[in-house]
Each structure stands twice: as C-alpha cells, then as structure tokens.
Symmetry: C2
Subunit: 294 residues, 2 copies
Amino acid sequence: MTPFLNKLVIIGTGLIGGSFALDLKRLGLVGEVVGVGRSPENLERALQLGVIDHASRDAATAVRDADLVLLSTPVGQMSGILAQIAPHLAAHTLVSDAGSTKRDVAALFRQHLGHCLDRCVPAHPIAGSDLSGAAAARYSLYENRTVVLTPLVESRPETVERIAALWSACGAVIKTMSPDEHDSVFATVSHLPHLLAFAYVAQVAARPNAEACFDLASTGFRDFTRIAGSHPEMWRDIALANRTALLADLKDYHAALATVISMVETSDGAAMAELFETARDARTNWFQRFKAKS
Amino acid sequence: MTPFLNKLVIIGTGLIGGSFALDLKRLGLVGEVVGVGRSPENLERALQLGVIDHASRDAATAVRDADLVLLSTPVGQMSGILAQIAPHLAAHTLVSDAGSTKRDVAALFRQHLGHCLDRCVPAHPIAGSDLSGAAAARYSLYENRTVVLTPLVESRPETVERIAALWSACGAVIKTMSPDEHDSVFATVSHLPHLLAFAYVAQVAARPNAEACFDLASTGFRDFTRIAGSHPEMWRDIALANRTALLADLKDYHAALATVISMVETSDGAAMAELFETARDARTNWFQRFKAKS
C-alpha cells in the first residue's frame, strides 16, 4: 500500500499543517496541496513559499475529492469546520487532525462525521513551537518527533495505517493510544506545566519588586518560564477541552505543594532532600533517554 | 587602586571558585591561588588543570596571609569553616563568599568574623550550572553575568570596591543590594521555581502512568524541569536558609494556584485567557531584555 495522496487539504495552514505538506511534497507522496485559512496574507505567504499549491477560504469547496483532510487549526475552531465540511466529503476521504487534546476531537468527529467515522483518526503530532503561521513551516519538523494516533473504535485499520504511513514517511515515531489515555498523559506532561508556568510568571509580574526580580532572573528562570510565552487563546482552549484530566492533576499538584510548604515551614530538611532527590533522579533518567532518542 | 591579590584562597574548589581563580590568573590579577577542599581527587584535578597553584585540606593553615578568602562551598558548610579560619585571618585579609543566600551568610560573618566585618562582603555570582567540581571550572564563566554584592553596614567602601573590581575584571556586571533584598528577589526568581519544578517531577514520577508520561514528555517538559536536575542537598540548604522569603512566595503561589483551579473548575475561559496573556506578555518582554544583555 502506498500512502500517496492525490489531493491533501490542510485546514489551518500554519507550522504544523504546512510542515506536513512540505515533507509530503518533497517525498513525492502528494499530488496537490490545498491550503484553507482565514488570513489571506498567510495563505498568500504559503503559496509563495510553496507550502501549498492552491489556497481557499472556503473549507466546504476545498475538501471536495480530497484523499485526506488535515485539520490543523486550534481545537476551538474545529466544530464549525467539521459542520461545514461534513456534507462535502467524498466516500474515500480520510479525516485527521493535529489538535493538542483528543477526547474532545474524538467527540467532535463523532458528532459531525458519524457517517464516516471509519475514515477518521484523531492525531497529535508533538512538535510544538513558539513559532506559528505558514512562514514557520519547514522541512523535517517531524524527524524523530512523536505523532500520537488515537483511533476511534470505528476507525478502519486501513485508515489508521495509511495516516501512520504518511507521518512515518515524514520521520515521525508513531504511538497509538486511546483519546482518554492521551489526554491524561498530556494533562500531566504538558498542560499542567503550562498552567504552572503561566501562574508563576503572572505572580512575579504582580510583585511590588517585579522590576528587581526580572532584572536578576537568569537561565533557570528562562528555561522554567519558556512555556509561559505560549499562545494564551490556544492554551485557554486546551485547558477548557482537557478540563477533567487537568483538574485532577492541578489538584494533586496543589496538595503536593501544601506538603512542600509544610516541609519548609517546619524546616524539615530530610523530607526536602528526599523529595528533591526523587525529582532529580527521575529528571536525570528521563533526560538521558530523551537525549538518546532525539 | 589595583585589585591585585598576592594570595587568593578558594575554599570549595569547584565551578564557581575555580572559574574565578582561572580568570584572575589569566588577567595577571593574582600571584598565588590556594585551593582548599575535602576531596583529595578534586584538589588533584584542580592542580592538574592549573586552576590552583597549591592545595590544602586545612582551611586554618591555608588562609594565613591571604589577601582574599573566597568561600565557595555550599552555605551549609560555611559556619564550620568560618569558625576554623577566624583566628587565622591576617589584618589585611578580605573575606567574601559565593553562596546563593545572603541573609544567613551575613549572619554567619557577623557571628564568626565580628572582629573584621569591615573586610567582609557577602556576594552571589549568578552563574549556576548543573556542572560542578574543579573539572567544570572554565575561563569567562562570568562574562556578562551578574554578581550581586550585599555589603554589611560594617563593610568598608574600599573592601567593596576591591571585590567589585575583581569580579568586574572577570567580565561580571555588579549589582549591590542588602542581604534581605537579595533573598527576597532570589526566593522569587530562583528558589520558588526550583521547588515548583522538584515537586512537579516528583509528582509525575509517582503517577501510575509515569512510564507513558515520561515516554511522551517533550521539549516543553525538558525546559520546565531542567532545574529539577539540580543538587538536592544544595537546594535543601537554600530552602532552609531562605525559609522566610521562600515561604511567603510558596504561599502566594499556592493561593494563585487555587484561583487557577477555580478558573478551570468553572470553565472560566475569559479569566484564563487574561491570566495567560498577562504571563505571556511579561515573559516575552523579559526575554527580549534578557537576550539583549546576555
């Protein structure tokens, strides 16, 4: 089976969808790429850069006869888009997405694409960046990066295989799990730290001595807060979409922090050293593995 | 005034003290460097690498006739060392340190060196690293880095100037503030995030799905948790030493997190977007300034 696509439609022509299109073009795995978006300037840029072959502001028309429609918009826009495109999907069109949460996307697919769930696979390419827009798209973005597929029970194995093959061709490592599992893991490793970092920077900024603090903040601060530079609306949508799993993690963390506070309050050095050592060892082990695979 | 030192004694011959010695040697600002430490292997390495000229395991003997004694051990060891060296300091010997907390060091200087406080200046070179030991010492570590001096009311202006001149010669930017101010600022920009990162990684490691979490953690996780790879005992000492300021910050953060939890609980997207935007803007502004000066 060749995963070759005669026509790929990217809805949301930015870093994620654009980089996917670029790699497939270079690999000769796609005939025509149509980019759909709301910003004429961004679409024009995508055309100029060769990220897409045709631009459209109308998703319903664009998806006709597509082999694959990839939704790479913020998750908050997907419901409207799915409603628009649902009546216009051909009998062979596959649908996937690139959203950071999967339980909600699975539910949206189920709501709008009930007639073709066998051809749907929610997915999450883990290649975030603080860059965005078509101009940020680049070759090999997915080299050695993970793409999580969260097939529905209805998804046909052939659908999952073909979408996996396309991402694999871009150099990605494929992992498969349920939408619930995905959201629980990403609440822990991504959504929680984003909220912690946002809350932390907001607290520093609100201090009476904020000026002196920012003046003396250094590389530890820089790295710890990098994710607080992320897109506010995108992260609001993620927090809303993954509310249940995120809340559980936030509450666990809040409780863990109460324990830390009591360690500091009682000057319990032994408990602190033990906690810090557990964390240091886990982080060091993780980082060795992460470096080895990236 | 030349800041030239006939004899510099580094107590704790690691990254911080060693890099200071290397730069002063290269600049011709020091005649002889004596390294004091507990590990014979580390001292041997420091001699081999030319970081020090002589090694000693006995601080009391080593400090005789020193122009400057720099304590670059963990703060937890300083009381014992100061008690040992106090009777052996010459009338012209200056004493400084490189500890991450300053209120406690100021108190230790006051406790042990009451007879020569005019020649003491607590200091904090901001050049942390996950590397340590004499082998980690390198030239130009302090280039464009900040060194905070927290003079005592008793510190003579000449003492402060000479120590400032030495650090400036290494390329450092000098800031002067009170020990209290220092500890309050560093609780906020350094100690709090370290504890938050330690607590976070320990929580992930304790999850039933820790394996899956670590497997899918990516660059955001890597940067947010880098400081959780820091030295457990060193950070226990810092948390104990800066207990008051750190507790205030921890409690503020705990309260801020309760607000975040209630935003998520009530799906208050507007409040989240506002919080995230405040943080994003503050972080982006800070990073522009930080990049410009580093």
